[in-house]
Structure formats: structure tokens, C-alpha cells
Symmetry: C2
């Protein structure tokens, strides 16, 4: 007799994980697969971070740390923001990945039936966190006309008596699109006027190819900003992120963190202290430039083949492509591409419902050599169909 909570029927597994598992089992049988389904940088953690982790282990720094995080790391995170962000270390909470940050924020905000506005397409876990706490996601369809992002105007139009918060991601997964500074300022003002809470996911912060890297913290101390060591600093498997929270929420997030996590990983926190060293920052910029080169290559190649990618994505490491010239069912296309061409990509339905069957996501978290091989396979496959 199995007893499942109702929320489970509205929480989905990642299709990307299914694709990955199938790809791995094909590889185990000797097939060659070009991976473009994974949202994880192919680079290892930078050497100085690894070295700091090794030293922490050698020194026995493996005991519990405070629930809010290692004070020196909170200070280093705060200091990594520009002066305009006015971020005091007391507002920085270290979490087990950005996932941990989102969990705390939604646990602190959501009453049953409360609505959170977010863009569709968007990162799938976000709506599941909201559902987990008995809230509802108001998934607002977006397209290239607003750079796949919510705008102040869209937020105002979709706000209801039950709305309590807006979640944005800039750069966005799966589209790599940014929210322009002027629009972000407008959104900050609008959400405040509506009496809501604004949460901005900046986990691809730094992975921006054109223009300046800005943060929503610049525009208000009342915005929640979520970030992570995973993507920019290449620390995915270490599971370490943070949230810059409005001061009034810190005690609530502290007691939630005590109960839910006790603490974030101690070795990871000591290692992350090295993330802001000049050597690592230099390396991170070098990697960003490599991602830019890959984006330029893959974007051009995919467009030439007939994939529709209206905007040049300015950040992250994804291309979100309209595949309607090839298929009306992007999940079937992704599966066929894997099985027949040995190319792994993620179908749009991981990211929502809005035109999901017409889209797929390509991750360029792979070498140029492999990306070229992937493009070659796509060309052969698409000519044959």
C-alpha cells in the first residue's frame, strides 16, 4: 500500500535526466554520443579551489558550520559584488546549491494557494518548489518579443489577488536571455507597488558575453537574489550556492536552514573561499570567453540548418531552438536524434508548456571538437528525414 502526496502528480522528473540515462546506456553498449543535453560546464573545478578544499580536508575542517554559512565566505561573497549592490555580509546566506536557496525562500514565503509568477519557458524546478509548499505557479508564456523574459507590463497584467511573488532568471535557462537593466528597474518598482516579493535567479551571473554584468541588488535591498558556485566557478558537484536576502527575512531563513539543512557542506565552503582569488577569476573569464566562442559557432551552424533561434543569447550556455521545420513533437525528435544520430539534446517540455513541443535546448557544455561532430551528425540526420 503506497501513499503518495498529491503534489507528486504535479512534480515531474527531468526529461534531460532521462535522455542522459539513455545516452549513458547507449555509450555502455559502445555507441558514440555527443552530449548537448547537460546543464553543467565541462570544465573541472579551478585548481586553487580544489587545493583549498584539499587543505580543509587535511586540516580536519569537516565539522558543522553555522546554518547561515561560514562568516568569512559570507563576507567574501558580499565583497564580490560592486559597491552599488550595497550588499552587507549579514544578508548573505550560504546554501546547498541555488536549489537550497530557492527551497528556503519559497518555504519562507508561500502559503497554500499563493501564486508565484514566472516565465514559460523557464527552469523546471522553480515551479516544483512552489508546488511543494502548496503554492501555484502562474506560468506566463513568453517569446522572442520580450527576449523570453517577463516584463513589468506582463507582471502587472497577470498579477491577481492571490499573487505574492515574481521569479525571474537572468540569464535564463533555457534561453540564455537577459533582462535589460532598464526593464529590471521597472520590474523592481512594479513588484514593490503590487506589494509582492521579487526573486531573481542569477546563477549564470558572470557568464555574460556582451555588455556589463549587473545584479538586481543594485536596484533594491528588498530583492532576493539567488546565485551559485556551480556554473561560473565550476563547482557543480560540490553543491554550494547562496542567497542575498532582504535583511528582514534573514532570521526566518536562518531558522529554516537550521531545520532543513543544519548547514551547508564545510569542505565546499572552505574551498569556495578561493573562488574569489585573482587566479580563479582570471580562469573564470577565460572559460566565459570559450563559451562565447562555442555559442557563436553553434548558433551559426544551427541557424544554417534551419533551426529557428530569433535572438542571439547573451549569457549562460544554452541555445533554445524552434524545431518546427523538422517536427511537431520535439520530445520525439530528441529521442530520434539520440537513437539515430547519437546526439543528445533536451526537449522543450522540461521547461514548461508554452510551445514546448516546438522547441529543444542545446547546451554548449562540450568541446568545440565535439560540437562540430554533433553538428555534422545533425546535418546528416536532417538530410535523411
Amino acid at each position: 500500500m503506497t501513499r503518495f502526496a498529491e503534489r507528486l502528480s504535479q512534480i515531474d522528473a527531468f526529461h534531460a535526466m532521462d535522455i542522459l540515462a539513455r545516452a549513458r546506456s547507449m555509450e555502455a553498449q559502445g555507441r558514440s554520443i555527443v552530449h548537448m543535453e547537460i546543464g553543467e560546464p565541462d570544465f573541472p573545478t579551478a585548481a586553487p579551489i580544489v587545493q583549498a578544499g584539499i587543505e580543509a580536508l587535511r586540516d580536519g575542517r569537516t565539522h558543522y558550520l553555522p546554518a547561515l554559512g561560514l562568516p568569512a565566505l559570507r563576507a567574501a561573497i558580499a565583497a564580490s559584488y560592486p559597491a552599488q549592490a550595497r550588499l552587507d555580509a549579514s544578508r548573505v546566506i550560504v546554501t546547498p546549491g541555488a536549489s537550497g536557496a530557492l527551497l528556503l525562500i519559497f518555504a519562507a514565503l508561500i502559503n497554500p494557494g499563493d501564486q508565484v509568477l514566472m516565465a514559460d519557458p523557464g527552469y523546471p524546478c522553480n515551479r516544483h518548489f512552489v508546488r511543494m509548499f502548496e503554492g501555484e505557479t502562474s506560468a506566463i508564456p513568453v517569446d522572442e518579443s520580450t527576449a523570453y523574459q517577463l516584463t513589468a507590463e506582463l507582471i502587472r497584467r497577470h498579477w491577481t489577488a492571490r499573487s505574492v511573488a515574481v521569479l525571474l532568471a537572468s540569464p535564463s535557462n533555457p534561453t540564455g536571455a537577459l533582462i535589460a537593466d532598464a526593464e529590471m528597474q521597472q520590474i523592481v518598482r512594479t513588484v514593490a507597488e503590487l506589494g509582492g516579493v521579487l526573486i531573481v535567479d542569477e546563477i549564470y551571473h558572470g557568464l555574460i558575453f556582451e555588455g556589463e554584468v549587473t545584479t538586481a541588488l543594485t536596484y533594491s535591498p528588498e530583492v532576493f537574489v539567488v546565485n551559485s558556485f556551480s556554473k561560473y566557478y565550476g563547482m557543480t558537484g560540490w553543491r554550494l550556492g547562496w542567497v542575498a536576502a532582504p535583511a528582514s527575512y534573514v532570521p526566518a531563513l536562518d531558522k529554516l536552514a537550521q531545520n532543513v539543512f543544519l548547514a551547508s557542506s564545510a569542505p565546499a565552503q572552505y574551498a569556495a573561499l578561493a573562488a574569489f582569488s585573482p587566479a580563479v577569476l582570471e580562469e573564470a573569464r577565460r572559460r566565459r570567453d570559450i563559451f562565447r566562442e562555442r555559442r557563436d559557432y553553434l548558433l551559426t551552424a544551427l541557424r544554417a540548418m534551419g533551426f529557428i533561434i530569433p535572438l542571439v543569447p547573451r549569457g549562460a550556455f544554452y541555445l533554445y531552438a524552434d524545431v518546427s521545420r523538422f517536427s511537431a513533437d520535439s520530445a520525439a525528435l530528441a529521442l530520434n536524434l539520440l537513437q539515430q544520430a547519437g546526439v543528445a539534446i533536451t526537449p522543450g517540455l522540461d521547461f514548461g508548456k508554452h510551445r514546448a513541443a516546438q522547441h529543444v535546448r542545446f547546451s554548449y557544455t562540450n568541446t568545440m571538437e565535439n560540437l562540430r561532430e554533433g553538428v555534422k551528425r545533425l546535418q546528416v540526420y536532417l538530410k535523411a528525414v
Copy 2:
């Protein structure tokens, strides 16, 4: 304008953390404090585990692992149980600490208004996890007459139409009490008859001073058993635990883990592979014997002073003591002891409501030398009052 979810009013911070923070600030001012408030072994992580962690870092094994955990670690965990437990690796899910395991289980089980039965006193986070998912805790007062544990009879008596699950902990925090095998068998049968789900927290598994170490898995494959590398293997700060789940729940827990955690720490998982090596198991048994020696000393010394501890705790590293001879307000007593005697202990109200003001918890996670000093300070303080 700050917007808090209602659940926050029923989720408390740990008083132990408050005591710890005060103790640390007194230490910073030069005061000497004997720590008996912390639920963390004073031993470092065993050397072979640390070494395995260092090698994982050196080898760049810092990428995401599957949400269910590293297959080799799941297999090693399953193999660490005796044959009678009949635990297949496919039922083992690696989590960020036992906290992560409890989070997944309650997210998978609890609908709003559902009731979970648990003992009062008990571990504070448990009721907060239930509240987080809009469930209710039915806190059943227990005392020495049932070794501070629920019994099949108590469960039957308190079961209502809204009850869905029972959570036990053996050994228990804060009492160190075990559930006898015969009673556990009865409970397994009773909860099944009632149509409920049984969850057994075995995070102090192995830290048992008399009699055999048994697991609730022996009695049914339908029981959730939660465990951790924190206490017995001395890996607190690494944040790594697991749940042995009924087979029918594994896909649900997998998709929840994908969304909530993505994965548990990769370096911690590679390190934990060394936890089951003969050298580490030998070291863990040696540490258990040291804890037993401390228990014997502290139990005798506290009883001689007038603390009432009716039962000899058979496991964990806690003594739960009735202080009614000294005070009717154990929180005030704990604070006075800290400020006037330099002894840090945890007041009963961290563990529930039942006779909480008459109890405190002593942790013997400190050296014999420090425990002796603590006892000396207690003697002086109690004579003076």
C-alpha cells in the same frame, strides 16, 4: 513590507544554537566554557575517509552525480546491512544528510492536514518538516515507563482518521533510548494494519553500547529507514546521509531529489566509499567504546548530584536529565549554568513540550577531561544555589 508564510510561526530556531552562539561569544571574551550542548561527535572524520575525499578532489571527481546517488556508494550502503535486512541497492537513496532524507520522505507523503505521530521529547526538526508541507504533528508524550519511545499500543491509541505516518528514532535524540526488537516488530505490524507508513530514524545506528545493533529493515521492506554518515562515521560537516525506501517510493523520491537537490555532494560521496573499510569500521567501534566510557562516567556523576535519569541510555551520546530538584524552568537553568558556571547544555524545550521545562540534555561529545571539569563546575554551582 515583509511577507512571511504562516508555517514560520510554528517553526522554531534551535535553542541549542542560541546557547552555542552565546557560549562562543563568551569564549571570544576570554571565558572558558565546557561544551555539552552540541550534537556532534568531537572526533575528526576518520583518516581513510579524508584521504578518499582528497583523492576525489585531486582526480577532478567534482561533477554532478545522479540524484539517487553514486551507484557504488548505494551498493556499499546496502552491503553494510546484514543479510536479514534484505536491502537491495536500488532501494538506497543518498541524500544531503539525514535532513535531506526526511525532507524527501515528507514531501512524498504529506498532504495538507495529514498527521504524523511522533514521540515528545524528540528531535525538533522532525515536526518542522511535517509543518513545512502543511501536515500536523501528533506529539505523543512519552516517559521512562516506555523508555521514552512510542509503543504499538500508544500508536494505536493515538491513531486518527487523519493519521498517515509514524516517525520513530532509535536510538533517540535526546534520550539515547532504543526500541526493543520485539516492540519494533509489533509496531511494524500495527502501523501496517492501520494503513500507515512507518519511518525509523537510525542515525545513531552503530552507536549502541549494550546488545546487538539491529535495524527496522529486518522486519519489513515497507519501512523507511533514515541514516547518516554524520554521527557514527564522524562526517557531520560533509552533509551526507541516506534513506532505505520501500521499492514503490523510489521513483517518486528520485524525481523529488532531482528537483530539490539535483544531487548530493560528489566529493562527500566518493569519500564515504571509504567509510565501510575495515580500518574505518575498527575506528568507529573504538569511538563507540569511548562514548560508552563517557556515558558511564557522566551518568554516575549527574545522578550523584541529584539529576534524575531513570534509565541507562543504551545509545547515541546524550543524557536527558530531569532537573526539577534544581529548577522549574530548565531554559533559565541552562542560561544560568552557561553564564555563571561556564557549562553549556541544551534546555528541554528544543525537544518538545512534554515536561520540557523540567529537562535538559547533556551531550557527551567532549573529552573525559572536559567532562570532569564540567561536572566540577556543576557541583560548585549547584552547591551555591
